[in-house]
């Protein structure tokens, strides 16, 4: 595969703006769509992108509520479950019209990709799921890593911390030195919205159960599991691998929930190795 030209920039179109999507193009390649997870934004891919963009087109996006996305597009009813986020991914791909993409989803971004691919398989060439989980709660022989009390604790911690960490989010939005009072007011609204969205997102992730959906995945799928992921136990990676027909499992030496941050080289090698193994490139 030879790259003929490359070009990076924000993608045009209303949905691309809504998701702060950028497209880096390496002609003749099937693009990678990098989809972040809970609590983060496309910035989280910062250490991985330089390692893949030489040889591949890369699309970056923020889910509504995260990073540079359009907060006014947030609809609590639509985003009550991951299906709302999955519909966004499909809508965005429709608008970008890049053809099928290699989807790489981290954490909740993984299940969002699974749901999108089940609804619109023609938009995807493959799925790579990094630190993903179909269900976080333990359940009758299934190890999800969280007890019900633990999830209640998490939701309570988030809600109780609501105002506290909405304050901690605020400075991000403060960028209007001429009108500080306006900026402060806007920042407060912005921060509260973001905090509320984060709590909703936590509920959508940690109280859901998509295990029954997995056998329906018909795309080439790569399950990537880091060592000692405090969010997703290794058993979940094995479960995903066993439940998704024909999937491939990579166990990384990189530790933690963010192997693309803690071990970007190894993660990139694993991701590209899987893609190279596919007939499609």
């Amino acid at each position: 595969m030879t790259a003929t030209a490359s070009d990076t920039g924000p993608a045009p179109g209303p949905l691309a703006r809504r998701h702060a999507a950028t497209v880096h193009e390496v002609r003749g390649t099937v693009p990678l769509l990098l989809s972040h997870g809970f609590g983060t934004s496309q910035e989280m891919w910062g250490r991985l992108v330089p390692l893949v963009e030489e040889s591949r087109s890369v699309v970056l996006m923020d889910h509504v509520g995260a990073g540079g996305s359009d907060l006014s597009a947030y609809d609590p009813r639509r985003y009550q479950t991951l299906r709302g986020y999955a519909a966004d991914v499909a809508d965005l791909l429709d608008e970008l019209a890049l053809g099928p993409v290699h989807y790489v989803g981290h954490s909740a971004g993984g299940m969002i990709g699974v749901l999108a691919a089940l609804a619109r398989p023609e938009l995807f060439a493959s799925l790579s799921l990094v630190g993903a989980s179909p269900r976080y709660l333990d359940d009758d022989g299934y190890v999800g890593g969280f007890t019900r009390a633990g999830v209640d604790d998490l939701l309570e911690a988030m809600e109780a911390n609501f105002f506290q960490w909405s304050r901690s989010l605020a400075p991000v939005a403060m960028a209007n030195p001429e009108r500080p009072e306006l900026a402060e007011e806007l920042a407060a609204i912005f921060a509260r919205t973001q905090a509320q969205i984060a709590v909703d997102f936590a509920r959508a992730i940690f109280l859901s159960d998509f295990r029954d959906e997995l056998p329906g995945v018909s795309l080439p799928t790569h399950v990537v599991q880091a060592a000692d992921d405090p969010m997703v136990p290794a058993a979940v990676g094995r479960f995903l691998h066993a439940a998704i027909p024909g999937s491939r499992l990579s166990l990384l030496e990189a530790t933690g929930h963010f192997p693309h941050v803690s071990g970007p080289d190894e993660t990139a090698r694993a991701l590209l190795g899987f893609l190279d193994s596919l007939a499609l490139t």
Partner: protein
């Protein structure tokens, strides 16, 4: 005091972790607070010492923020002590100014302040604020439903309006309105976040809906988070259950069972609006239909005939009216009483309806006078219809205490476009005259 002593015994906890969160140093104050030895902390993941909820927030929100901005200011975190108890702490963190090894990332310097007292107080404040926000959320939803009720004139518009208002206001997966029609719960409207819920009208009402309808009391879940549930409240008015509002609650819904109690208030508001819409529909019907025979009355007939004149003009078709007056009706009234007279009128109304074509309109003008409006009808067909009316009415009518026999005089009048201004009055006058001519002829016989 040496710097090392100050580090170890400062009145706050210090620790240093690698970029990946592994503890590399901790001061004595912190070890004392946590009841842990140096080796039980150093070399482990700092996140593993946080309470489950705090751990997730730490890893997914605080650490990425620290990486992005270089610092983390005063966030609340619960740390687990060796004995399992919790230390609520305020944590501040910065990236180490020391240059990292080549290709690595800087270490993280973390300060902890014991916040047991403050945390409990703040938590109470926050919970109170949260409770107030939830109450406002519920009231806004109720307000939306009330507005939908106020603007809806028909039952159908009302059902669709409130289904949408309830679903949007309380952020529910599905809201459905079932209405009691002839003693059965019937699908009326649904609002769903999932596309393609259009076939729901073929579904039977849920068990919850059925119970709420039968017993006239709300069926509300005891638990919502983590399980997909449903709730149903009766749409009641004056002790009568007119329908049911049913909702489906996603397992990831923001609210609590307590929030669903607002559905009871919504059910009462909707029930009242439903009763009003039904009354309105009934009154509208009373103004246009004859209560006894259920036929259009004179007002609706006149409205319809005006429209028929316009159609006849446009399409250049004939317009025919058949005026029908019962013969011998007064005698039935005198012999058998008014109740029997009413029965005869109802029976004859049905027979006239049975004698005309499907598109013809039969109306009762008053007393024992009926009229049939036939559009685009040849003189031969009009005569055939008239004869079927006479034959139909002539059949004996079985009463509770006897048999009534009446007849029908039918006058036919026709207009061919172009119609002049007073066409409707002239048609009525001519039809009346033709009918009386037949009646007079019959009486002479």
């Amino acid at each position: 005091m040496s710097d090392a002593l100050l580090y170890d015994h400062a009145p706050c906890g210090y620790l240093t972790t690698s970029a990946d969160g592994v503890v590399s140093r901790a001061n004595a104050t912190l070890l004392g607070w946590l009841g842990r030895g140096y080796d039980a902390l150093v070399g482990t993941q700092f996140a593993d010492h946080l309470r489950a909820g705090a751990r997730v927030v730490w890893l997914t929100h605080h650490i990425p923020r620290l990486a992005a901005t270089g610092r983390l200011d005063a966030v609340a975190v619960d740390v687990v002590r060796a004995d399992g108890s919790l230390l609520p702490a305020i944590v501040t963190a910065v990236l180490s100014p020391d240059p990292p090894p080549a290709g690595g990332r800087p270490e993280v310097l973390i300060t902890l302040i014991d916040a047991s007292e403050r945390q409990a107080y703040e938590r109470e404040l926050l919970l109170a604020r949260q409770a107030a926000e939830r109450a406002r959320w519920r009231m806004r939803a109720l307000q939306r439903v009330t507005e939908a009720c106020a603007t809806a004139e028909t039952e159908d518009v009302l059902a669709h309006g409130v289904a949408a208002a309830v679903a949007a206001g309380l952020e529910l997966a599905v809201a459905r309105v079932w209405l009691d029609r002839d003693g059965a719960l019937t699908a009326a409207a649904a609002d769903s976040v999932v596309d393609g819920d259009a076939t729901w009208a073929d579904e039977a009402p849920s068990m919850d809906s059925f119970r709420a309808w039968r017993d006239g009391i709300p069926v509300l879940p005891e638990q919502t988070a983590g399980t997909r549930t449903s709730a149903a409240v009766p749409l009641g008015h004056g002790g009568e259950t007119l329908g049911v509002l049913e909702v489906v609650v996603a397992e990831t819904w923001r609210g609590t069972p307590a929030d669903l109690e607002v559905l009871v208030m919504m059910g009462a508001v909707i029930g009242q609006a439903l009763a009003r819409a039904r009354m309105h529909a009934r009154m509208e019907r009373m103004a246009l239909y004859d209560d006894l025979t259920d036929l259009p009355n004179r007002a609706l007939f006149l409205r319809t005939v005006e429209q028929a004149v316009a159609r006849s003009r446009r399409a250049s078709t004939r317009l025919t009216l058949l005026f029908v007056d019962l013969d011998g009706f007064k005698g039935v009234n005198d012999t058998y009483g008014h109740a029997a007279g009413d029965q005869v009128l109802q029976e004859c109304a049905g027979r006239i309806r049975g004698a005309v074509r499907a598109a013809d309109l039969v109306a009762r003008l008053g007393g024992d006078e009926f009229v049939v409006l036939c559009e685009d009808c040849s003189p031969e067909i009009a005569e055939e219809i008239a004869q079927r009316v006479r034959d139909g009415v002539r059949e004996p009518i079985v009463l509770a205490d006897g048999i009534a026999e009446v007849g029908a005089s039918v006058g036919i009048t026709t207009a061919v476009p172009p119609h002049d201004e007073g066409i409707v009055d002239r048609l009525i006058a001519d039809g009346d005259a033709a009918m009386y001519a037949e009646k007079a002829g019959r009486q002479r016989l």
